[in-house]
Symmetry: C2
Subunit: 245 residues, 2 copies
Amino acid sequence: MNLIALRGLPIVKKGDDIAQLIAHAANGQVKIENGDIIVVAQSIVSKAEGNVYDLREINPSPRAIEIGKKMGRDPRKIELILRESTEIVRQAHVLITRTKHGFVCANAGVDSSNVDEDHATTLPEDPDASARRIRERIKDILGVDVAVIISDTHGRPFRKGAAGVAIGVAGMEPLWDLRDKRDLYGKKLTSTIFAAADSFAAAATIVMGETNEGTPVVIIKGAKYKPGDGRATDLVRPREHDLFL
Amino acid sequence: MNLIALRGLPIVKKGDDIAQLIAHAANGQVKIENGDIIVVAQSIVSKAEGNVYDLREINPSPRAIEIGKKMGRDPRKIELILRESTEIVRQAHVLITRTKHGFVCANAGVDSSNVDEDHATTLPEDPDASARRIRERIKDILGVDVAVIISDTHGRPFRKGAAGVAIGVAGMEPLWDLRDKRDLYGKKLTSTIFAAADSFAAAATIVMGETNEGTPVVIIKGAKYKPGDGRATDLVRPREHDLFL
């Protein structure tokens, strides 16, 4: 399995066709082929889709002002976070919420890095749909069938540090159910479901770099995956099955 | 970044020198070089170190019998889990504990797959030390400096499916602190610590396969990482800083 960070992408602006930018940057650098996985950082998808907010235009609610005061944080950003969330999961030194998509993460994915001062991005409205659109446009432009993952980096309970996860998926099954497979001794494997899309996102995030390297797209070649119509929301553990809520 | 699953490893037995087995299998298949990362599945480290238990020799305590009855599970396995744990974190349809190393995971890593009937493996006694030994032996045998990660697969709160994590590390810093780095706009990144070792483990676990493919060792080439003396226990969020315990 080979991971290639795509160089030469421009800074993405609202309305940009990400598939077109990828196809253009790949030209002469890496041949995108059937079966490749294209991992795209959430930040550029949000920008292309216009999910960038000028905080000076955000009018924080009384609740956002109260939380902002308690946490010592910008109430306008708290307001954006609350708008993106269905539930506050933990409020301590960090604000962990469940996003409208179902993801549990810090700040509902609201992020002020890699945008102008006094601005913040939110997650794409429907990252699975974003992934599908990129996949379809790649098919249109290059004539190849790829899988697409929209990645974000999330902190984790119990473990330090953030790692890449899939928040949008197209063209693959994000979970592999191995429960009927057998081990080296021929015994049935019990309760083994593999978070494939998250693992691809985690791998791609290593080569993306988290800082200012400007490589928010990674092409994964030679990966075995299950083509399919799964969604990243399949990766969300239903609230009623979660032991930590 | 390129990930190569090492083929041709024998089934590992107690006392085996894993570095020697890796060097032998790699010969003619992949050249192990300075700067490579070798990811080794916990299961073969446990076997080589003799952490395999015959359940017929385990005498479950009254507490293990009680939990086993409640959960409908083998009390001998529960006994092993309790011996490996300092704390039960959640007891529902799964038993999630904190292991003596500090890791929070299902069944304290006690596993009956890929061993004989009526047997189970536990995690290595000190996986960081196991990683260091493999790293040193690779240096002895092949004369190259590599990083070594002992990987396991853990389930995650909030998200379905298991993914690879690092439970032992040698020759690298498992966490990258990016808090002083700047984004595309020159602004300081806030609170960005990247779980590098876990991400490498997650990536390697994709190509290992979870079933009977017999490729528990993956060589990662062309990866940027921070050489250092970090430990996988650095990845453990201290109990008092965890919001979900």
